[in-house]
């Protein structure tokens, strides 16, 4: 009897798990497959196969201009977020002072504040100071602020196990504070920096919420532009663009898996 329960229970769990795992990959697989359709409208499964929508995507001006905007925003905001993240992680890992808790709350606050609020609040300020046309700058600022908590956490956790006496030994042997940091601390936190940078870059490159509020006419990101094309164009070009974004994300995902492991995503 117990055996029967065990087997049927396990069988039920397996069936349910497989169903939901398929559910998780379904929209991704369907997007990839339908982008290779030969027809002028979207259906799944496609009636025939072709790469014409990829050619159409590569020829579209909007794809290239917004792609470069997204790359520039992601690279610059990731670089600043990494710098802020290292400084903040160092403060939190090495210093005890009054107001440390408040400092931690401030730096992690973008995780608490909903994205629409951050986006709209920044837009409101940029309109007040008449800077709403500086789209790229606004987007970089917004993305930097919301990705800094990610870089902070990744760097902070890589600092956690480090022995402070190593740094003190270097300093007592004549190293300056800077050279002790660069020669001792920095090499030890490189994995955290890489992980944080990849998470920040992926977040920025894929973000819609903040970008939907801060995109100006001249500075739109690829996901935001893609969103308006999905809304209005019944043409498979967005499917090809979506598939290209999936492939770019997959490249980053494999990079993380091979270098620092998937644990960085699991410990959020």
């Amino acid at each position: 009897m117990a055996d029967f329960f065990l087997r049927s229970g396990r069988g039920l769990v397996t069936v349910m798990a497989v169903f939901w795992l398929v559910f998780l990959v379904a929209p991704i697989v369907v997007t990839l497959a339908s982008s290779f359709t030969s027809s002028t409208y979207l259906t799944f499964p496609p009636p025939g196969w072709s790469v014409r929508w990829y050619l159409s995507a590569f020829e579209s001006e909007w794809v290239w201009s917004t792609f470069w905007n997204s790359v520039v925003i992601a690279v610059v905001s990731t670089a600043i977020a990494v710098a802020l993240g290292i400084a903040a992680a160092r403060v939190l890992a090495r210093h005890r002072f009054y107001g440390r808790g408040l400092f931690e709350y401030a730096v992690l606050s973008p995780l608490i504040i909903p994205g629409v609020v951050v986006g709209f609040a920044l837009l409101n300020v940029s309109v007040l100071i008449e800077a709403q046309d500086a789209g790229l700058l606004n987007l970089i600022i917004g993305h930097t602020m919301v990705t800094t908590p990610f870089t902070l956490r990744a760097v902070w956790s890589s600092m956690a196990g480090n022995d402070i006496s190593l740094e003190e030994a270097a300093q007592s042997l004549g190293a300056t504070r800077w050279s002790a940091f660069w020669l001792i601390v920095f090499p030890l936190i490189v994995p955290g920096i890489v992980a944080g940078a990849i998470i920040a870059f992926t977040f920025s490159f894929n973000d819609v919420t903040i970008s939907a509020f801060l995109s100006a006419r001249e500075a739109r990101t690829l996901p935001v532009e893609l969103m308006s094309h999905i809304e209005y164009l019944p043409d498979p070009t967005p499917a090809a663009v979506s598939s290209l974004m999936i492939i770019i994300t997959l490249a980053f995902f494999l990079l993380v898996e091979r270098t620092v492991g998937l644990g960085v995503f699991a410990d959020r």
């Binding site: 117990a2 329960f5 769990v13 798990a17 497989v18 795992l21 559910f23 998780l24 990959v25 929209p27 991704i28 369907v30 997007t31 799944f44 802020l84 400084a87 903040a88 160092r90 403060v91 210093h95 005890r96 009054y98 400092f103 401030a106 730096v107 606050s109 504040i113 909903p114 994205g115 629409v116 609020v117 951050v118 709209f120 609040a121 920044l122 837009l123 409101n124 600022i141 992926t202 894929n206 819609v208 919420t209 939907a212 509020f213 996901p223 893609l226 969103m227 967005p238 499917a239 979506s242 974004m245 994300t249 980053f252 995902f253 898996e257 998937l262 995503f265 699991a266 410990d267 959020r268």
Partner: protein
């Protein structure tokens, strides 16, 4: 380490950035949302914020937000549990692949995922074809541009958080506990209900809070899958900001969302610190 000097050279640039680009904008949002509606009114005027709960549109959006978030959380719980159990007990070489299947979708842009769902849930999509083939419906039913679309999309968006929260606690369960219970004569069913379930409750709780709060504040997924006629709080904020150009009302909704965000984190902190204490 005891309390020391404030590390000014490191902390100042960071604090300055957050003060200027996060705190100040949020304060300005508060100022905007509490601006007096009438010419003669005085600041702060709570009419707009209360109006979110009073007006028909606001009330509908609030109710819809809560309803959708509750459904999404329930589905994530019921779906995430078997997936987490399955991953926790499968062979290590499969575990990596299955973990990748769980984590990869949540790195993909919400726009791309919503796009996939519009194809799947459309009138000629696989979901409708499947339901017709099963004989459950006769002609295609609307699965996107309504609440169903939002629920499916948000479930897909948030289920990984639930699975990962559950896996974190499942992997910490000592297998000896199960063996001990079994050797003392417990049936697999009672091992599950009396050992596995109680030990995973903290993970279930953190997952639930995380999924519910993220469901309340999701934007891109409901925007793309919900269409114009089913606004929730976040998409209503966007509508007020960009279609109706009523920034006072948009800011008022922002204030409500901000309060909800802070509320959930406070509950989360409280629950997880208690969870830590009782489960070591």
């Amino acid at each position: 380490m005891k309390a020391g000097r404030f590390p000014a050279s490191l902390a100042t640039p960071v604090l300055l950035a957050f003060a200027v680009f996060i705190v100040a904008p949020c304060v300005m949002l508060l100022v905007k949302g509490l601006e007096p509606t009438a010419e003669t009114g005085e600041w702060p005027d709570f009419t707009n914020v209360l109006g979110v709960f009073d007006s028909k549109v606001g009330q509908q959006a609030l109710n819809r937000t809560i309803r959708i978030s509750l459904i999404v959380t329930a589905v994530c719980m019921l779906a995430g549990y078997p997936v987490a159990l399955f991953i926790a007990r499968c062979a290590p070489r499969w575990r990596g692949l299955l973990l990748a299947v769980v984590i990869f979708p949540f790195l993909i842009s919400a726009v791309v995922r919503a796009f996939g769902w519009t194809v799947l849930l459309g009138d000629s999509g696989l979901a409708n074809k499947g339901l017709i083939a099963l004989g459950l419906i006769e002609r295609p039913i609307a699965l996107v541009q309504n609440e169903i679309g939002i629920i499916v999309g948000e479930t897909h968006l948030l289920m990984p958080y639930m699975i990962l929260s559950l896996l974190a606690v499942l992997q910490r369960i000592d297998p000896n506990l199960r063996h001990a219970a079994e050797s003392l004569g417990a049936s697999p069913v009672s091992v599950f209900w009396r050992i596995v379930v109680p030990l995973t409750l903290p993970g279930l709780l953190t997952g639930t809070l995380l999924v519910f709060s993220l469901a309340m504040t999701a934007f891109a997924t409901p925007f793309l899958l919900g269409g114009g006629r089913t606004p929730i709080l976040t998409t209503l904020l966007y509508d007020y900001a960009f279609t109706l150009f009523d920034w006072r009302l948009a800011a008022a909704i922002g204030i409500v969302l901000l309060i909800l965000g802070i509320l959930f984190v406070t509950i989360h902190r409280f629950v997880s610190s208690r969870g830590m204490r009782s489960y070591g």
